[in-house]
Each structure stands twice: as C-alpha cells, then as structure tokens.
Amino acid sequence: MNGAADMGGMHGFGPVVPEKNEPVFHEEWEGHSFALNIVTGVANLWNIDAFRFKRESLPPPEYLNLSYYGLWTRTLELMMLEYGIATPEELKAGHAIAPFKQAPRAVTAADCDNMVRCARPFSRPAPGPALFKVGDKVRAKNMHPKHHTRLPRYTRGHVGEIARIVGCHVFPDSNASNLGEDPHWLYTVRFDGHELWGADSDPKVRVCIEAWEPYLEKP
C-alpha cells in the first residue's frame, strides 16, 4: 500500500538530529512496548509482515505523529483486537475481562536467549530457477497494490541492475495477508541516482534495494 511508511524521497521533515549519548529506551514504557512486540511474535500470534502491514495501514496523519514505540504500542492494540486476543473493553480497562482460552504455551524467560540468538531465517527452498542473473537490467514494476508490499514507491517504474541474487525468501506481500509464505527469488537491485531522482541529482549516488522476483520485469 502507498501508506505513510513509504517516505523515501519526501521533503519537509527537516534535518536529521542525532542525540548525544542516546539511551536505548527513552521511557520505561518504550522497553515494554519493544519486549511485548518480540514475545507476541515468538508466541506466533501473528507474523512480522502482518504486523508491518497493520502499522503502515494507520492513517498517515496518525502514523506520522506517533513516536516509534508509540507506533508499536498502537499497532499491538490493533493486532490484539483483530486476532481476538483482547476486546476493546479489555484494552480500556487494562485487564482481562472476557473468558478466554489459555494460550498454547506462554513465552518464558527461558525462551529469551532463543528469541534473541536463534536464527529464524527467511530463506526457503527454491521452487524453480531464478529468472534474472547478475548484471541483468530490470525494471521495478509500476504497481500500487492495496496490500502490504516492500517495493518502495520511489523505485517503481525505474530501471536498475541485478547486483546479487540473494536466494529464495518468504514473500511479504503474501505473508502479510496470511496467504502463506509463497517464497520467491530475492535480488539486490542497484539503481543510479539519476534514474530515480532525475538529471539534477547527484551523479555519484546509487541506491540498492532487495526486490522479490514478482516486483521485477524485463525493461
């Protein structure tokens, strides 16, 4: 979807302002928002692409005015509602009210090391040979799906070059809609700055993205 999350190339946000000696979390609740997001993922309540889709589906004014962890908390609420984990009344009360079925297995501290360190790779066995090879010119499709996608708008319609064949990976467009992992070949595609931003742009800038095969076509 063309949501507020897709902000590559937008103007007006001002300069980047690095913070000296920035703490990992600025408020105590931010740490909790962070940890809750991890454990709900590990508990397999939903997949990461579905979570991202929900987050970017927020109305752009809301998305753009929430802080980073504020966005996470807001998205958690919406996911809990959508997946039947909590009712609006419960979120309001801050307690479980409705009768509920016990979770299959709670995520425990023992899982933590596993959560943090254990590989959860996104690569999958290939269903067939890759369509493109390194050095091929490809065009990022001009597509504007209403569902989740990881092809940024600023690359759509533009011609780049395959820089690397990454492997065969879970396809977020499908996974976010709970339509299965539907793995596809994943490529690193390199674009010239001129191609993306026009003749007046810096000639020495190149931008690389990862693009799944369904995002690409022969130019």
């Binding site: 979807m1 063309n2 949501g3 507020a4 902000m7 190339g9 937008m10 103007h11 007006g12 946000f13 001002g14 970017e56 589906s57 927020l58 109305p59 752009p60 004014p61 998305y63 753009l64 005015n65 499709k141 001009n142 597509m143 504007h144 799906p145 209403k146 319609g157 533009h158 191609e195 993306l196 931003w197 026009g198 003749a199 007046d200 742009s201």
Partner: protein
Amino acid sequence: MNGGHDIGGMDGFGPVQPEPNEPVFHSQWEKRAFALTLAAGVAGGWNIDMSRFARENRPPNEYLTMSYYQIWFAALEAMLKERALVSDDEIAAGQTLKAPKPVSCILKADDVARVLYHGDPTERETKTKPAFKAGDRVRAKMMNPVTHTRLPRYVRGHLGTIDRVIGCHVFPDSNAAGAGENPQWLYTVRFDGGELWGADADPSVTVSVDAWEPYLLPA
C-alpha cells in the same frame, strides 16, 4: 517539493466523508482567517504561488494534521513574518508593538467586489511557439525539486498525451521563488490509469493534469 501536500495516490486516509448541509465556514475564526488571507495578500504583495509554497513548506506530519484553514493561517503568519510586517511578539501580545512598515496598497471594502470580479489572470503574451501540439506523446519529467512545483509525483516519469494547448501562463516554479513570472506554455496532458497505476488499474480511468512545458519531454 515532495511535501505532505503531494498526496495523489496515497492510501490509508479512509473514505471520503461528505457532510450534509455543510456550512461555508465551520467557525468564526475560519471566516476571519479566510478574509485576512485575501486582504493581507494585497498589503503583503505576495503572489499565489508564494502562498502555496508557504502552505506546503512544513513537516508532512504537521501538514496532514492541520485543517485547511489552519494551514492557510499558518502560511499567512509565516509570510507576514518573513516580510517583517508582523512579528511573533506582536501575535503573542495581540497588539501592535512596532510601527507599521509602509505598504503600497491595501484592500478597501469598496474595492472588494471589483478585485474579486477581476481576479488575477495568469495568461501572458508570448512570441514563442508551443513545442507540442494536441495528440503529441510526452513524458512528464523525472524531477524532484525541493522548491515549489505543480507536477505531482504520481505522474512523474509517465507517458501521456497532449490533450490541449492551453496558452502561455505564469510559471509557478519561478513565481513562487520570487524569480519572476517566467511564463511558459501550458498544456493539458492526459494519462491512462494503467500507465500511472500499473497493469491492475481500472482501464476506464484517465487522469489529466495541466503541465507547463518545462515539465515535459517529447516521448
């Protein structure tokens, strides 16, 4: 600029919600903000493209959170301050603290009807010939100026057809910057929905924009 205002094709804002029996203004301050903008424009001497730039030139999160007349009013304040006609402390105090600067003219009640009736035509005489004629195929330039422009992002890089040669009009990109009217040929350019929004788009939709010659390349 690729600001918060350039939202053609963005998702996530939800449905259009027409208001039954909507009043012309929703509150007293909206009336005043509207009239002040028109009247102070005469004293301030800025042009419409400068006003537009003053409105769009703010962080997108702010732009998208403010109501229409809030944006107008914020731009009015900014333009008055930029020209040192009014200062921050005066707005805070709600009264004049510094002597007025001389201005060439102000809008009198007696002139309102005439000024509104005459408007502010933007067509200009020219000796140049238009580069394109109706039916020509053109490509909207891939350009991303950080200054004011009226070429929406969603048409950039796309192929369209000249529908009509409108005439030679004030060029907003120059006019907004105070760099003169720099009149340019203006065309209505029609784009197929499929060209703008991809193969899945509704084939019965076309979108037309008015584009000045410097926005276009022969296809």
